[in-house]
Amino acid sequence: MSHEDLPPSVDPKITRIIVWALFVVCTAFVAADLFYDKAAHTHYDFENLVGFHAAYGFLSCVGLVLAAAQMRKLVMRSEDYYDRD
């Protein structure tokens, strides 16, 4: 049975609530950048851009996962690859 055929473990309604809550919290933390003196504790100018860490985190993860998925073409072998002589 492929992954798509299996029912989700958490009720999709609850998942939707969690995802919306995540959107709200994400927005709130980016907005928070406007309300304090960020420069007081950062060491680089680029860190002071509003939402810098948010964008960095998002792009890092998307880049990481897409690159890793491509990497499979290069490194993935069958499960018993090392057991075969």
């Binding site: 299996l6 473990s9 950048d33 680089y44 948010a54 996962v65 998925a69 499960e79």
Partner: protein, 585 residues
């Protein structure tokens, strides 16, 4: 107090005596001995030394200072926690191996000279391999053998370094840090490879193997997932952190370690994303966490070294907790392959909760332990303006949350509902207690970092650095929340690579396949050279023998009877030759 029982030896003795302890008391002994050791260590003042003489050498069995103390404390604590986790296990082999292994790691931490360090360094290798072999499968046996060869090689390099160092300086002592402006320097620290003492390079290679430096790392991902359920938890606590301790002690301020550490934080996470065996995912993630500590050692400021020591402390707890969670899954389900798990949160709710706490801690969420320790290393990198390293560490922080923070709990406990071939129940009580204590400590350290900070090598108040300033909290939350958003985005659009049963080849291909092929190829070459030489020899021998036969057989020149006169002349000629030689000589 410590003069009577040096730290580590208590556990080694306890471990060796376990076979004579009645089985029903063994588990209690395994929990109580590390706690007793921890108590003794608590009573030991900083600066305590215990020396002994071996032949003409003055060796230091124990030296307690602020760096060895914090590692000693967490090693004792981890040993007690692991013993609780393994309470249900009656395998004497594992019990003895685990206790002596923990003892060797603790003894190595307090070693004051290179020879004592070497002895216990090898001790950790020889004892810990039984935790892998105790799985009693062909795969575990082979993996353990590779592990042992590599670990022993690390020890041999350390001994070689010690000998070279002794022949050059006349000393075996592991000396303390020296100060160079704002930076601390270990006894083997160097500025460039050319200026490094040969002994320093040998020792660095030795420590680098155990600390899983890039290209020297594969023993970790190879062996840890093959060990027993409890064995992996023990293994994850000691070996690599002992190496971090040794690096911090001897190589603080070696800038070469900064790019090495940064590479360690980044490259394993690509593998962690696509790996299916969730304990192997954790092994890659362990490698990534070691990277932060190695960067801290390389930076070598007080804040960075505090970060390394503090992060090692926090890391042992949350990484142990994550391995405990996956171990509980194996204990109940029989495996921990992401492709065949899911929906366990209903059946193992407490394991789910505790593992998720471990995942939050490793991801460095504010209020969890990773946050108050990792931030020190990130800040130290930024303060020293290691800009690229800082960028890599931020990238790796987002990546850690992705594969350890989300992937582990998501694929094990949530994802899809699944039918299992057996009745799944919550983890055994002892496992839950161990996980509960570790989870509590992850939160406690995150919320109340002061007791941990008090154990660090340098006074935190003097450093004017606090974890909970608004910038740290908001920027870290942004990084992590948007990483979670990226996961949602990738899942929603079907871009997230599915969990697949597979093997991902890493650098160990070189010796597991490439090296094997090279050895087999060389063997075949040698075989054909040998066969060729042998055939040639037979051919030559045959022709010589034929020639001799032709001379000596009837009808041959030597085969015919000689006339007596010819024999007399021949004898006379030989006699004359001998006489001439005698007269000349």
């Amino acid at each position: 107090m410590i003069e009577a029982i040096p730290p580590g030896l208590l556990l080694i003795l306890g471990g060796l005596l376990l076979p004579v302890v009645p089985e029903r008391h063994r588990k209690a002994v395994m929990v109580c001995v590390p706690l007793l050791g921890l108590g003794l260590l608590g009573l030991t003042p900083l600066g305590t030394e215990l020396t002994y003489s071996l032949f003409d050498y003055e060796l230091t069995l124990t030296r307690v200072d602020s760096l060895s103390r914090i590692f000693g404390v967490i090693f004792h604590l981890a040993a007690a926690l692991c013993a609780v986790y393994a309470w249900h296990d009656k395998d004497l082999l594992q019990q003895v191996a685990a206790m002596t292994y923990a003892g060797a790691a603790i003894a190595a931490t307090f070693a004051g000279d290179l020879i004592t360090l070497f002895v216990f360094w090898e001790g950790t290798a020889i004892t810990s391999v039984f935790l892998i072999w105790a799985r009693r499968t062909e795969r575990a046996y082979r993996s353990g053998m590779r592990y042992l060869v590599i670990q022993v090689a690390s020890g041999v390099l350390l001994l070689s370094g010690a000998i070279v160092w002794y022949s050059s300086t006349g000393s075996l002592e592991i000396t303390g840090w020296t100060r160079d402006g704002d930076h601390l320097r270990g006894m083997f620290a160097f500025d460039s490879l050319e200026s490094a003492h040969p002994a320093a390079l040998l020792v660095l290679l030795s420590f680098g193997i155990k600390a899983a430096f890039p290209l020297l790392h594969n023993w970790l991902q190879d062996a840890y997932p093959e060990a027993t359920v409890t064995g992996t938890v023990w293994l994850s606590s000691f070996t690599t952190k002992l190496a971090i301790y040794a690096l911090a002690r001897c190589f603080a301020g070696t800038e070469l370690l900064i790019p090495i550490g940064a590479t360690m934080t980044a490259f394993p996470i690509f593998y962690a994303v696509i790996e299916n065996d969730l304990r192997r995912v954790l092994a890659y993630s362990l490698n990534n966490q070691l990277g932060y500590m190695v960067v801290g050692v390389g930076i070598g400021t007080e804040l960075a070294l505090n970060g390394t020591a503090g992060h090692a402390f926090a890391h042992i707890l949350y990484k142990g907790l994550l391995f405990m969670g996956m171990g509980a899954v194996i204990h109940r389900v029989g495996h921990c392959d992401g492709s065949d798990l899911g929906g366990l949160w209903r059946k193992m709710p407490l394991t789910t909760l505790f593992t998720t706490i471990g995942a939050m801690a490793i991801s460095a969420f504010p209020l969890f332990s990773g946050f108050v320790t990792k931030s020190m290393i990130l800040s130290a990198a930024a303060i020293e303006h290691h800009t690229v390293t800082f960028g890599v560490l931020l990238f790796a922080s987002a990546g850690v949350f992705h594969h350890s923070g989300i992937k582990i709990p998501f694929f094990a406990f949530f994802a899809h509902e699944r039918e299992y071939d057996r009745e799944i129940t919550e983890a055994p009580k002892n496992m839950l207690i161990a996980m509960g204590i570790a989870a509590f400590l992850c939160i406690f350290i995150g919320c109340v970092p002061a007791p941990l900070y008090a154990l660090l090598p340098f006074d935190m108040e003097h450093l004017h650095w606090i974890p909970y300033d608004i910038t740290h909290v908001v920027t870290m939350m942004q990084l992590l929340l948007f990483s979670a958003l990226a996961f949602v985005f990738l899942q929603k659009f079907g871009l997230y690579p599915p969990e697949l049963r597979s093997t991902n080849v890493d650098f160990d291909w070189v010796y597991r396949k490439g090296g094997k092929r090279a050895v087999v190829g060389l063997g075949r070459l040698a075989d054909s050279v040998y066969a060729g030489a042998r055939d040639r020899l037979y051919l030559e021998a045959g022709s010589v023998s034929r020639r001799i036969r032709s001379y000596h057989s009837p009808g041959g020149p030597l085969g015919e009877p000689w006339p007596i006169g010819s024999a007399a002349i021949a004898a006379a000629v030989i006699l004359v030759i001998f006489l001439a030689m005698g007269w000349m000589g």
